[in-house]
């Protein structure tokens, strides 16, 4: 984020339904300073090891290909995104 290094990244979540070809469909668009950087999906299928956690379904830009473990809460996910975009 050129020129904004000393400003905390503003992370905003927007609810969205996501087609994951499974029953996991509750999602959040993750916007950082107004740009789409990731999509989180809540793990709802009981077979998941971490049912109820938020999974980074897709990462874009600097989050592309990053595979963190699922997050317990949206706050944890937001904190992770902010930290990951900082460095």
């Amino acid at each position: 984020m050129g020129g904004q290094d000393n400003v905390e990244t503003l992370v905003v979540l927007q609810p969205i339904a996501v087609d994951t070809a499974s029953l996991d469909r509750t999602g959040m668009l993750v916007l950082a300073n107004g740009k789409l950087v990731a999509i989180l999906v809540r793990l709802e299928v009981p077979e998941h090891a971490r049912c109820g956690a938020w999974f980074l379904e897709v990462g874009l830009g600097r989050l592309a290909g990053v595979r963190p473990p699922a997050f317990d809460t949206l706050e944890d996910a937001t904190r992770w995104v902010r930290q990951h975009l900082k460095g």
């Binding site: 499974s22 077979e47 998941h48 595979r67």
Partner: protein
């Protein structure tokens, strides 16, 4: 590494190697005798334990007698790529006979019984029976063929096709050494292991497995894989078993 020595030698250990080699090439009586004469040190290893590590210079090869092992590489931040799974009869570090420094790790997946065979003895055996050296060579060529298929899967197959392909391969490999039949075999790997082998996340593996169950292609329970629709699984995976070079190839 803390190996627990087995109190008694295992007379069946050479048999496992013979069974494996005979699945890819015929052996003469003399060759079988030569293998039976190989000195083998038997060890019982715990699950999730390194057998040989990246950079090691082993003086023996490791024949798997029971259980599953895997080759893997470690990347930064704890990321792991599993390169291949290995079952009884396999010698996953056979290459250490010729390439002295290992360029990856070999670890147990489950509890494993292994036989360590000194390089020196394998060298003597192949000098005495050059045709056995050719069989070992053949085995490493098949190993390379398995890697080619894996490369195709990683690059061009969907997660669904890749997993289907891996199940077909593992079933046929197990069947070839008499450890599977009736479209049923043990699959003692976790979804996290599968994810590390396929370059996926455990979440994606979980979804694909559920989809496969929903389509009645497979059932997977208590570490047992049952292939419910073999022909359909072959079709989905575009699986052609030629690369395994098995002498008896019909599944069942």
């Amino acid at each position: 590494m803390n190996f627990v020595p087995s109190p008694v030698p295992d007379p069946q250990a050479p048999g496992m190697l013979i069974r494996k080699l005979e699945s890819i090439a015929p052996l003469s009586a003399g060759e079988r005798q030569g293998i039976e004469g190989l000195p083998m040190r038997i060890h019982n290893l715990n699950a999730r334990q390194d057998i040989v590590r990246d950079g090691d210079q082993p003086t023996h090869c490791c024949l798997i007698l029971d259980g599953w092992a895997c080759r893997y590489k470690l990347l930064s931040e704890g990321k792991r790529q599993i390169l291949s799974f290995h079952i009884p009869g396999d010698i996953p570090d056979l290459q250490s006979l010729q390439i002295h420094r290992l360029d990856h790790n070999l670890a147990t997946v489950t509890k494993v019984r292994v036989a360590f065979i000194p390089h020196e003895s394998l060298g003597e055996l192949t000098a005495k029976h050059p045709s056995l050296a050719a069989v070992f060579w053949r085995d490493t060529l098949i190993d390379a063929g398995i890697f080619r298929e894996r490369l195709v899967s990683m690059g061009r197959r969907s997660a669904f096709e890749h997993i289907a392909h891996m199940f077909c391969e593992l079933y046929l490999k197990m069947q070839a050494v008499g450890l599977a039949g009736n479209f049923r075999c043990s699959l003692p790997i976790t979804q996290a292991d599968m994810a590390d082998a396929l370059g996926l996340t455990p979440v994606h593996v979980n979804r694909v497995l559920k989809e496969m169950r929903d389509q009645t292609l497979i059932t997977l329970r208590s570490s047992t894989l049952v292939i419910e629709a073999w022909d359909e699984l072959l079709r989905v995976a575009e699986f052609d078993a030629t690369y395994l070079q098995l002498r008896k190839r019909a599944a069942g």
